[in-house]
Symmetry: C3
Subunit: 351 residues, 3 copies
Amino acid sequence: MTIKTNPGNFFEDFRMGQELIHATPRTVTAGDVALYTGLFGVRFAINSSAEFARGMGLPEAPLDDFLAFHFVFGKTVPDISLNAVANLGYAQGRFGVPIYPGDTVSTTSTVIGLRQNKDGKSGVVYVRSIGVNQTGAMVLDYCRWVMVRKQNEAAAAPEPVTPTLPGVVAAGDLQVPDTLHVAGYNTALAGSPYLWDDYVVGEKIDHVDAMTIEEAEHMIATRLYQNTAKVHFDAMMQKASRFGRRLIYGGHIISLARSLSFNGLANAFKVVAINGGRHVSPTFAGHTIYAWSEVLGKMEIPGRSDVGALRLRTVATKDKACADFPFKDAEGNYDPSVALDFDYTVLMPRR
Amino acid sequence: MTIKTNPGNFFEDFRMGQELIHATPRTVTAGDVALYTGLFGVRFAINSSAEFARGMGLPEAPLDDFLAFHFVFGKTVPDISLNAVANLGYAQGRFGVPIYPGDTVSTTSTVIGLRQNKDGKSGVVYVRSIGVNQTGAMVLDYCRWVMVRKQNEAAAAPEPVTPTLPGVVAAGDLQVPDTLHVAGYNTALAGSPYLWDDYVVGEKIDHVDAMTIEEAEHMIATRLYQNTAKVHFDAMMQKASRFGRRLIYGGHIISLARSLSFNGLANAFKVVAINGGRHVSPTFAGHTIYAWSEVLGKMEIPGRSDVGALRLRTVATKDKACADFPFKDAEGNYDPSVALDFDYTVLMPRR
Amino acid sequence: MTIKTNPGNFFEDFRMGQELIHATPRTVTAGDVALYTGLFGVRFAINSSAEFARGMGLPEAPLDDFLAFHFVFGKTVPDISLNAVANLGYAQGRFGVPIYPGDTVSTTSTVIGLRQNKDGKSGVVYVRSIGVNQTGAMVLDYCRWVMVRKQNEAAAAPEPVTPTLPGVVAAGDLQVPDTLHVAGYNTALAGSPYLWDDYVVGEKIDHVDAMTIEEAEHMIATRLYQNTAKVHFDAMMQKASRFGRRLIYGGHIISLARSLSFNGLANAFKVVAINGGRHVSPTFAGHTIYAWSEVLGKMEIPGRSDVGALRLRTVATKDKACADFPFKDAEGNYDPSVALDFDYTVLMPRR
């Protein structure tokens, strides 16, 4: 008789080059899209209207890119981060083919780096995770690194390997859906007259709106992605933690920030890359999330004169409006209100 | 570099006859229907069962009429009522073709009245909003008026125009779907033996059931409709308001009242008109909503002997059961428990 | 003028052999599935992935069996248990054809037993309820008994009839979908290497994970099933009850327990029978639900060498981890933490 429950992997269980096939492929549906809309209030026209999407050359409305991200990410939790202490960073995230209702997403990961911490109690695991649809086409390919506990502190430390991960996804690596065009793009229906040409590097945008998070909301969202990390769901266990309560899945703040960013970036119709990102501080139910963005770069897309890319930093704060763009102090320390510092690339129509 | 966020229109920004194309068309899906069922517990058979709807001559189960209303209404918020002080009234609401999953709804509005308040700080804006599906067929055509703040109090007052809005939609203006029939209407499956013939003008019905509202529920619902009014979502901002907390979207109470009205009006299978309505007092999470209805009128539908119309007043109360039909006192002041006083018209099969 | 609201049936309203056609057939959709996933975080691959389900010979991903149960059960509430004091037990529950999105479920019940309590104030009603899809094929056939109040205590007691209900559904009565096979069953994607052969009678499994319940969650779930029992929704009425607050629908705990059981029983891909079950103690929002299971029996399925059945007891507890399998004390009294003691049968692939 063997123990049938999955205890998750501990730091000493990972090997360089190890491949992990994650459980529970997920067919995504219009139901997931409705729930995502209800939880985050997203309004980007391409995801909201099948008619609008067809007007852009797509067969129907694709899923919000971060909803795709959460499905791909969620699969990895039971194998990668069940025993994680912290989710440290993201890099080289590239979105591939759009996901449509009816598609089935599954994820595999490869260990690309391992570095035990000096105290011998934990270590950093770097993985590259690839989500594919039912035809095997890449949906999302990204790297993340997490700090994972050791179960057996006496286990030998692995040879340390820290992968080289560029801080930005190159313009040539950004994938624009083949059939996509913006010939008949309607800015009135999309909700803003401002296109790629109107944004300036260094420009900061206060997204003005805000949303307060309830326990039911972040748990429903996180379960929808089949993310099983106990810290989000088990209030009793969390009473004994240093936070004393349930911790909100970091991706919840990414989605809120993206939704809030509509007000100022309504024509940023597609996320094509995650360059980096940091969950600066934890969030809990009751927090009100605000957001602001800075245009970090403008990139032309090779071979396309109709759409351009904007590299953005979107910062989400807790219980603090963003009119003065809270970020870091002179010493480089984040303002205590900052929950998320996220660096990503979006597409926008050009004039 | 221009300000990219939408501040919403202020009273002085509106012009008589102005047409507004509202952003973000919305494809509605079975996911929206499920969420609406989960949030309100609606049980009208025509909306719940594709088989039942087909038995009535429809291609499949249409969306609940108030879900259609919320989608049409939600589009108008960023342009009409982002700076509203109060949502004052509705009139001449006519439902057109049913919406089915897969349809895409979009909304335009026309300013049909303007009247600055005496204090010069705000004014009343009257709009007629029309929601259409992807073929351009009218889904809902209604008028509402809201009190909107001025940003620049020095702005000149417009010529005052108050539109003439009849207090009831005439029977000849009620739209019954072309193919609809009630030949095989099954009252056992519909949940009540009482048909149009059984109701009497002046009859009052206590709907008996009740539902307590949670913050997560009204926010999920309101985001589902892509209604962006901050008062519903930003608990931190609302702390400084006269209410001290998030205000529930008035339409949430309309949907709760309609759902509760099933117990007593189960065969009122379709809402065809909104004659008027008043959000009498604000509602907050924690309130328990009860409802009662009065039959205000019975109308024959021109050209149809199989279905008749009932004009109803449905009153929703907060934290007070409706066995004694709380409404107004001798001076005409509403009972403090009343949240909603709603005047609308429904269809019911005739014997 | 008649009272139009449904007061529900009281004990004296039931007759032996009485047949009840329950209202509001329900077309189930991908939206219901998404909401169920969001509320319970279920991960069984056959229900999560259309590709996985097709690999098992099914046309697409069937609904979770307990979601089917809730739809069938929900229909019965307005007629059977609106005036119930307690939901006493289940027996002889057999699942028939799987439900797929687009199917319409309706339910009828037959009274199979009646026994007035000695105090003359209430009695036990035994019903057999059968849910069918739109073709009339049986989806779920089960018995339950509830204690129902009398309205008129002077009403004569019926001849007492207690039906004979075997404590377990026989292996020969278990229905395996015709086309189902496990030839290409992928345990890596399903989430566990353990198959039917690996489980031992008497084996206990602590499912480790846990979920805390919010008011919004159990109400959204219960309304989704169109279950109308007031005790779940009306916080104001419940203030005056012996619990002082809303009571969570017992089925909510069944679904949570099933979802938690994935960790240890990931290949239990289908529930085929409910042998018995008891809601041992009430649950409220704020409770954290844990679960453990015991293998009560292993059964071969007549005519099939590829799948076997496991009879399981799954116990759900409140605010108490299950590492030491909380159950009953020496006198046979349940541990105060136990909320649910559920006896059911699942299918699992054999080696």
